[in-house]
Amino acid sequence: MRDRKFINRRVIFYIVVILLAIFALLPFFWMLSTSLKETKALTTIPIQWLPEKASFDAYLKLFEVFPFGRAVFNSLFISIIGTFISVLSASMAAFVFGKIEFRGREVLFGFFLATMMIPGNLLMIPNYLILRSLNLLDSYTGVLLPSFFNAFGTFLLRQNIKSLPDSYLEAAFMDGASRMKVFFKIILPLIKPALTTVTVLTFMGNWNSYLWPLIVLTSKEKMTLTVGLSLLNGQHMSDYNMLMAGAIISIIPMIIVYAFSQKHIEVGFNVGGLK
């Protein structure tokens, strides 16, 4: 009796969870299937779940009508450099807020935290105008400059650094090590897990970011993948095979990053959930 009830519950579990998994995955199946179709196969009735004739035309066309390889490069370049700047800057500030006492420190840290309440949408127009007056519109530098400030990363890393025992640092200072050395040789290695979490989350945020690169990067040579895709969406509205091919290419790096750092990502939003 007990066993049967247990088995029934399992069966129901699998039925419901598989239905939900279909809901999650069917769109991706459709994305892949569409990207392998020829243009005339897009508008058949009934629709073709699988392409009758698979072709890579859409992928080839994508690189023909648009400097798509360039967009992939731009996205990688901006995401990697932006993440490096952001995480280094945040961990340096976190070291000060976590371990070095000075007057006004808590007020300044409170200031850092308070900025998290300001939506990016409020700052985008003035930031655009600031870049404009610095002649940095449509440049990598311009799109990257705001990365120097990362309140969430600073907060998360500070919690970690604060919890490190002071004795480690004091021993190092006793040996005459500079703060720079202590930071790079002792602090950073000790907070590696948190550092990985912040790095991965920042990278994913950068890779998927849309509004800021959309307004700053206007020339085709500088555009990121998300901006390029939305431009293609405007110019080739119904070439869905090409749009889906582009979307697939934009997802692959995220899947790779996730595969290697699943644990760190999930730690990250547990912290987010408690915030």
């Binding site: 800057s89 070095i100 409020l122 640092l169 998300t226 979307a247």
Partner: protein, 294 residues
């Protein structure tokens, strides 16, 4: 606290804080003040700047467009929040069962979260295609005549909500899952001895104990709902007949299509006030409503 090496202390503090302070001052504080100043002007980038006082704010609040946009946002919230709570909490309860394969499902539900909104919105525009999209094909299989979705002013917003649920369920699902896993099992064991049903367990034990997470998810969802952008920009561009126009889409359009920087920044300050009020409500009510363990 580290007290040694006092000599270089101030210099070190400045060096370590410099990158962040640069970002904080130039790209947070300066634009914060600058945007408020702009919101009081009629600047259009090209011609001379004129001071208008609160005219932009008054004009926005008097325009029927603003109230329509607010209504669209509230419509989104009313559809989205109950659905995302049911789906993500249901998902979390399922993944909380100790059965083989649940790790694989965790990964599956996370893939939409990893996808950028741009890619997801392109995909959903195609999925919701009235004639050639699989969603209406599936509906037809069940004998239902699917609507025109993004081409119908009554169905465009529900279509966007549909896509958002798909994209967000894994994220909130895993947040709920970690809340469920932190519940002390002895509560359920005690309830079992008292002969409580699964239904009673859920409403008397689970729900009160995950209320902080529930509250967090609702607040985050409301704040995000006020800032919808890529999905609208790519799926409908605010149409049809303005039925999916939302605040950030309007701000973007006024600023970067019409170059009405003053009007657009005033709009973004009104948006900020909404988000600020929701955040304050969160901070105040969190203590009262929510049952915290221990």
């Amino acid at each position: 606290m580290v007290t040694l090496n006092k000599k270089r202390k101030s210099l070190d503090i400045i060096i370590f804080l410099l990158p962040s302070l640069f970002g904080l001052i130039v790209f947070q504080m300066l634009p914060f003040g600058y945007s408020f100043f702009l919101s009081l002007t009629d600047w259009d980038v090209l011609s001379k700047i004129n001071f208008l006082g609160l005219d932009n704010y008054i004009n926005i609040l008097k325009s029927s467009e603003f109230w329509k946009v607010l209504g669209n946002t509230l419509y989104y919230i009313v559809l989205y929040i109950p659905l995302i709570l049911i789906v993500s909490l249901g998902l979390a309860s399922l993944l909380n069962f100790k059965v083989p394969g649940r790790k694989v499902f965790r990964v599956i539900f996370y893939i939409p979260v990893l996808t950028s909104w741009v890619a997801a919105a392109l995909l959903w525009r195609w999925l919701l295609s009235p004639c050639y999209g699989p969603i209406n094909e599936i509906l037809q299989f069940f004998g239902l005549n699917g609507p025109s979705w993004l081409y119908d002013k009554h169905w465009a917003m529900p279509g966007i909500v549909f896509a958002s649920i798909w994209k967000d369920m894994g994220y909130f699902g895993l947040i709920f899952l970690s809340a469920l896993q932190s519940i002390d099992k002895t509560y359920y064991e005690a309830a079992k001895i008292d002969g409580a049903s699964a239904f009673q367990n859920f409403f008397n034990i689970t729900l009160p104990l995950i209320s902080p997470t529930m509250f967090f998810v609702i607040i985050i969802s409301i704040i995000n709902s006020f800032q919808l952008f890529p999905q609208v920009m790519i799926m409908t561009q605010g149409g049809p007949y303005g039925s999916t126009q939302v605040m950030v889409e309007r701000i973007y359009t006024y600023a970067f299509d019409y170059y009405k920087m003053g009007y657009a920044t005033a709009f973004s300050w009104i948006l900020f006030v909404f988000i600020f009020v929701v955040t304050i409500i969160q901070l105040k009510l969190q203590k009262k409503w929510v049952h915290y363990e221990g």
